[in-house]
């Protein structure tokens, strides 16, 4: 296998993916910490402040210039929710040394810059530079306010928020303006120092790498300073998500739109080990592609929608149905969707549907190794769910799913939340 992982100093997990499918090497560091209302905004702000400067490259301009000299290496960072964890993600992508117009050493330099950005930030008087914190607060404020700009994304986020009200997964990954305003540079720096001693740290290196990464890490001062730890984070997988059956919650919201957005959040009340493979196939039949029940019945047969699909969120054992519809068609579209859920429970789908849906899933699973960040995300997902399964095994598990299992799972599916954005 081209994937290996090992512990460095009980503080960091190193994952190496050796592949020559790409012209680039991709390095990623992920910091994971439990999602909490009091921390989400701090996490989002911290990620933004860290990219502003390091002790060696104190300004963003200097970082960018350095990366440009490395043939346009690109740095990116952001926050994501994965289950009940908040993940701060930092990526650096460079050309592989093999494709440079003239020989240069980029691997060690890349890893050192990435580590510096996270563990050796620029400080003044033992604290983050107040100017950096202030301007990132302003920026983050605009990002939070811009939540409404993309109506598709907004309605999806709002449905999740309502479905997981007062639970970690319902939190907005960028945080909240009222919390943001109160954060001081000192508070942020204290939070940071505490966080990096406790959080889970994973480093991924993917591409054509002939260097010994462990040796590079052992020489790096930032790594030498890291404390050993039992990282604080939450393990989420299908067996950990216990649901209660309840009447669907209906939420309607008005905005200036010509197209309505209908989002349904579904609970899967099945905590059996490996039910995630059954749920994947169930979801693909329901709303996975152009052959799915939703696409065929909501869009094609009745012309009720331009988009109609569903997605399975493995870590929360939930499914979200998303449609863009004409506002006046709300009831008709909702009834049609409910009919499709009933059809699934009654087993009104064919072996052909199952086969098609498996093909759809398998082609995306087989494509994992063709995109560098997707491959990293796959292995990191396994790391957080605390269960390792190779891509080959994954494929076999999907192939094994049968109709009876899908119908049994369908009987445990309940609508939790119906969200509608209208004019």
């Amino acid at each position: 296998m081209n994937y290996q992982k090992e512990q460095i100093k009980n503080a960091l997990t190193l994952h190496q993916i050796n592949t020559n499918n790409y012209k680039t090497n991709l390095y990623a560091i992920f910091l994971a910490t439990p999602l909490k209302r009091e921390n989400v905004t701090l996490d989002a702000l911290l990620t933004a402040v860290l990219r502003r400067g390091t002790k060696n490259l104190p300004t963003q301009e200097q970082i960018s210039q350095k990366l440009e000299m490395m043939y346009g290496a690109s740095f990116d960072c952001g926050v994501e929710k994965t289950g009940d964890n908040h993940i701060m993600k930092f990526y650096l992508e460079t050309l592989s040394e093999e494709f440079l117009p003239k020989p240069e050493k980029l691997v060690e330099e890349s890893i050192n810059i990435l580590l510096d950005i996270i563990f050796n930030p620029y400080t003044e008087n033992g604290c983050f530079k107040p100017e950096y914190v202030e301007s990132e607060k302003q920026n983050l404020k605009q990002i939070i306010e811009a939540k409404i700009d993309n109506k598709n994304k907004y309605s999806y986020d709002r449905c999740i928020e309502e479905m997981f009200k007062d639970k970690p997964y319902g939190l907005y990954k960028y945080g909240y303006i009222e919390d943001l305003e109160k954060i001081t540079p000192e508070e942020l720096y204290n939070y940071y120092q505490n966080l990096i001693q406790k959080c889970k740290i994973d480093l991924f290196c993917s591409g054509i790498i002939n260097n010994d990464i462990k040796e590079i890490l052992s020489k790096n001062e930032n790594i030498q300073k890291l404390q050993e730890r039992n990282p604080e984070y939450i393990v989420n997988n299908e067996t950990t998500e216990i649901k209660e059956k309840q009447e669907p919650k209906v939420v309607e919201e008005s905005m200036q739109v010509t197209q309505g957005k209908l989002v349904l959040g579904l609970d899967i009340n099945n905590t059996e080990e490996n039910s995630r493979f059954i749920a994947s196939v169930y979801n693909a039949i329901l709303g996975g592609g152009a052959n799915s029940k939703l696409f065929q019945n909501v869009r094609e047969k009745q012309s009720l929608a331009y988009t109609a699909n569903s997605g399975y969120i493995r870590v929360k054992n939930s499914i979200f149905i998303r449609c863009g519809i004409e506002i006046k068609n709300y009831q008709k579209a909702l009834d049609t969707i409910k009919d499709q859920l009933k059809e699934m429970e009654n087993g009104n789908f064919t072996q052909e549907d199952i086969k098609n849906s498996k093909e759809l899933i398998l082609s995306s699973v087989e494509g994992i190794t063709e995109e560098q960040d997707t491959e990293i995300t796959y292995y990191y997902g396994q790391e957080l769910a605390d269960r390792f399964i190779s891509i080959e095994e994954y494929i076999n598990k999907i192939k094994e799913v049968n109709k009876e299992q899908i119908v049994n799972l369908a009987k445990t599916v309940n609508i939790n939340t119906i969200y509608f954005l209208k004019d």
Binding site: Y71, P101, E300, E370
Partner: protein, 426 residues
């Protein structure tokens, strides 16, 4: 088969023009599992007036036909839809329409041959009836509504309106509810018969293939067609001025979004690739991530993230677009114009130029990471009359002096425009 090559990035492309006029480009990629095929016709939203080669009849078509035709190609006489058939094989299939071309594509890991059967079957078999054309109007009407709600689309259309008085680039790709209401099966067949002739089409395939074998597979699946003469496309006279400096709209956004443009008055003899590279270097020097101007705007909270930088060109239009989000677009405009003025007066800084040159080189190489990017790039470039590897191979010929000339000839204040979408005032 002609072989073109880029030694720097170790890639090759096999190019062949078949007897019926179809151009086939194969880019082999050893050891990749994904395969990508795209079949495009040189027919986009700007082609709204033309002379049919066979009958010499001049045809005017309603806005949105190329896109409408794209939607309708999937439908088969037996009631099936080719998109579904491909999806059922686990093949990710799609189609899209741009200003200057329409493309049908799929990506897969398995079942390439079955996919090829289906793709080459449906693209060669149009099936339009009064009934199925009417039904499609409902679906496309929804899509048009979606665009109408999209502030970034409005921003773009207004920018085009600033630059051009009469140029078909101003047409919405999907048309309007009103224009598509005029579409009939007859219009669709006329366009299909004219533009979907092999001599007006290009097929690009990327993946782990033996080119000689693949080309035979493609030939086997092509239907015989009579040769066709050149399609005469009629476009409005090119304008040597912009239409207006500024246009603004109000929509549901939280912060204003802007698009600043420079209309480029091209001439037909220039080297397109070299010019394109020089423009990309200049845009990065002016307002790219490491520029002084971006640092200043970021510090002042005027820009949250780097603006996106584009150069769009065909024979009928060419323009530079700088777009982003800012609470004060006018200040962004002033800053950009002032920086350009200084760069013209003081000349380009040696160190800065070298750094950005390296960065832009890296950007071109990264495109070769994905079979889909490679295939789409070859298709779009071939339609424009450009050879894709030239971006890598001609890179070294773009000198500081040449780049300076382009700065003077393209980034002119009199050709600059600004489009802004502001939040709705309560």
């Amino acid at each position: 088969m002609k072989i073109i090559e880029s030694s720097k990035i170790k890639e090759k492309a096999y190019v062949e023009q078949l007897e019926n006029g179809l151009t086939v480009i194969i880019v082999p990629k050893k050891n990749t599992k994904k395969k990508y095929i795209i079949w495009g016709t040189h027919f986009g939203s700007i082609d709204n007036r033309f002379i049919m080669p066979k009958t010499e009849e001049e045809v005017f078509i309603p806005d949105g036909v190329a896109h409408f035709l794209e939607h309708k190609m999937f439908e088969q006489p037996n009631g099936t839809n080719s998109l579904d058939t491909l999806m059922a094989l686990g093949i990710d299939a799609n189609a899209y329409t741009t200003n200057d071309h329409t493309a049908y594509l799929f990506e897969c890991t398995n079942h390439f041959e079955e996919g090829l059967n289906e793709l080459m079957d449906y693209v060669q078999h149009p099936y339009f009836t009064d009934e199925n054309v009417e039904k499609e109007k409902g679906i496309i009407g929804q899509e048009i509504n979606m665009y109408d709600d999209d502030p970034s689309w409005k921003l773009y259309i207004n920018a085009m309106n600033c630059m051009y008085k009469e140029n078909p680039i101003k047409i919405d790709i999907a048309g309007t509810i009103e224009s598509i209401s005029k579409i009939t099966p007859d219009v669709l067949y006329k366009c299909y018969n004219t533009f979907y002739h092999p001599s007006n089409m290009i097929m690009v395939v990327c993946g782990d293939f033996i080119p000689e074998n693949l080309i035979e597979e493609i030939k086997k699946r092509l239907l015989p067609k009579e040769n066709q003469g050149e399609i005469k496309r009629i476009y409005p006279q090119k304008e040597d001025k912009i239409n207006k400096k500024y246009e603004t709209a109000q929509m549901e956004v939280s912060v204003p979004i802007f698009m600043l443009g420079f209309k480029d008055m091209q001439n037909s003899k220039e080297e397109k690739v070299k010019k394109h590279i020089a423009i990309e270097i200049l845009l990065n020097m002016i307002i790219g991530k490491s520029s002084k101007l971006y640092a200043k705007f970021y510090k002042e909270g005027l820009l949250l993230s780097e603006p996106s930088l584009d150069y769009e060109f065909s024979n009928e239009y060419a323009h530079i677009l700088i777009s982003g989000t800012s609470k004060d677009p006018k200040k962004i405009e002033q800053g950009i114009l002032e920086t350009i003025k200084q760069m013209k007066e003081n000349g380009l800084d040696e160190e800065h130029f070298e750094r950005i040159r390296r960065k832009v080189y890296g950007d071109y190489v990264v495109e070769y990471n994905s079979v889909g990017d490679i295939a789409r790039m070859f298709l779009a470039d071939t339609i424009k009359g450009v050879q894709t590897f030239d971006y890598i191979e001609q890179f070294e010929t773009v000198t500081k002096e040449y780049t300076q000339e382009i700065l003077k000839s393209v980034f002119k204040e009199e050709n600059e425009i600004l489009s802004v979408v502001n939040p709705i005032q309560n």
